[in-house]
Amino acid sequence: MSALHPDNETLTRGEGLVLNLYVISALAVVVVMMLFGLIMRMAQGTWINVPPDIFYQLMTAHGAGMVGTVGLASSAVMWFFLRKYVRLHVAMFAANYVLFMLGALAILAAVFIGGYAGGWTFLYPLPVHSMGVWSVNSAALFMVGYLLIGVGFLVFYLDAMLAIIRSYGNLGRGLGLQWLFGGDLDKTHPPAVVASSMVVIVNSLGILGGAIVLVMCLINAYVPSLALNALLVKNLIYFFGHVFINASIYMAVIAVYELLPRFSGRLWTVSRPFLWAWALTTVMVLIVYPHHLLMDYVMPHWMLVMGQIISYTSGLPVFVVTAYGALANVYRSGIRWSVPAQLAMLSMFGWAAGIVPAIIDGTISVNQVMHNTQWVPGHFHFYLLLGVLPMVLALMFHLIDARRPAGGAVLRLGLPLYLLGGLIFVGAFLAAGHVSAPRRYAAHLPQWVPYDQVGSIGAILVIVAVLLFATYIIVGLLGAPGNATAHAAR
């Protein structure tokens, strides 16, 4: 077993190559998708003119691209750290990458060649009812792209699942369920294994739910007489979408568990509250999705109540365990504030602060005046842009840190710019949501335009910072000799 717990994080040549592909591709796609986002905000802000068909194509690509890429980058975080404790196969990790790229190509072709603009949520029956704007074939190609990406993730998760079962006996033991009610808690049980066990359970189910609804929609696209129940489809889509994006957060947070202690000098060990938090989150993330359907009054009302209550309780593990644990880990520790440490801390702030407006919006009576306003992109950009992306960037800077200690312009300019731009960007969304500006509009009423313009300025600052980060990381990965063969231990 000890061989599976290397003190260092050495990568073989093949592993280094695949990981570099993940990192570089993710950075490149994120920058392009951010530019799409900027174009949309500037169009809403009347600074540039974008025809509605192009706007909604960009919106569809931005949504699908960002959700997918955050998932891809987060899976790199999980793979990098989990492989220290269990035996993962790099071929499965590579297969995920190849299938993701094939899926991304299908999606890009569907959107920018086929003109598909049905949104990343492909809400039935819009994909097959475009009023002649795009063809059924384009919609089908988009959905096939999703299926390819889903299969890739499933391959990766199945490999991780088998590896955890081989090392720990079953997924429950990986989660640490045996210590919930007592017993001699093994404090050396890695938080990375706990988080990974949770992710492979929930996201395999989430992706299977997505696959079911995608196949249903594909059949309906070519056999329209097999009509679908719009409410059932909506339930399945939001189940899949919610679980997938949340699993990305839970994969990425492993970077915080692994990296922060190295700079604070304090171990982040599992405890009973920690294990309870992850066990409960495993259940909650699967049943909270009705909070996306609070305005569907025909839903069983107990499900709406469950959506509200589980939205509230979902915040507890973050506030009481992870963010709190990070603060306790750092307090009076003499931490060395390296770039990965700063990013890890920023991610904890972004996650904790970002779920404040999210949880409030999970209240039915609030949702009645906030649903599908810009409040929604306000809160999810908060914890994705200032929470998850910094977690992923923390790993990326960690990868190059030993060879090329980050400093200079990155420290002095990049991080403050990213934080400032990010706060302006999400603040503009939230402020606009507060005055009822709708989301997903190609054009806004004059009273909403100032918010769009402020948001655009925030987006520009963020993009400059991310370009700086991306350049630094890619040069670091490609430039240093021997980068593909080994990563020095810290």
Partner: protein
């Protein structure tokens, strides 16, 4: 203060509190002579227990207060004496069975769609949302709202429905009840 303003204020306070805690801890992240990690951890665990209890009490209180009365109307029971408006969403226009309503008497909107999902959102004279529900093919959502202010109300679509989603608008007028001052 309308509901959006309350939500905005609570959110700003919540985010500010989170930020203050982070700033405080980061400002105290330097090594302190005599700071014993085990002692600090014990203290942190003790604080966490109270923090957990405080959040739990807050959550239970807010849940109770926000769900009583239940904010979603019963979908089976018709309200006696209510004004009824049938609403159908189409790509890309709203069709309402009535465009003139009276303030002070509950209005039942029976909302459905002829094609794809739409979001039936009512904007008040101050351009803030006052109520909404989804318009879905094959289902009818029943939305009940009592207008208190006369004026022009705008209907916008809040569920993305294709090329002219942002132009899918209509409006209706709410007039003061007979005997009320205009």
């Amino acid at each position: 203060m309308n509901r959006q303003d309350e939500v905005w204020l609570i959110t700003l306070i919540g985010i500010a509190l989170v930020a203050l805690v982070f700033i405080y801890v980061i400002s105290r992240s330097g090594a302190s002579p005599g700071a014993d990690a085990r002692q600090l951890q014990t203290r942190a665990y003790a604080i966490r227990r109270w923090w957990f209890v405080a959040l739990l009490v807050l959550g239970v209180g807010v849940t109770y207060a926000s769900l009583r009365p239940f904010p979603v109307p019963d979908q089976q029971t018709q309200l006696a004496g209510a004004q009824v408006v049938d609403v159908v969403g189409h790509q890309w226009f709203w069709q309402l069975s009535s465009y003139r309503l009276t303030a002070g008497t509950p209005v039942e909107f029976h909302v459905t769609s002829a094609d794809v999902n739409h979001g039936f959102a009512i904007y008040g004279p101050d351009d803030r949302i006052v109520a909404q529900t989804q318009a879905m093919p094959g289902f009818t959502n029943r939305l009940v709202y009592t207008f208190t202010k006369p004026g022009l109300y705008r209907v916008l679509c809040l569920e993305y429905c294709g090329l002219a989603h942002h132009g899918m608008a209509n409006q209706f007028e709410v007039v003061a009840a007979t005997g009320d001052k205009p």
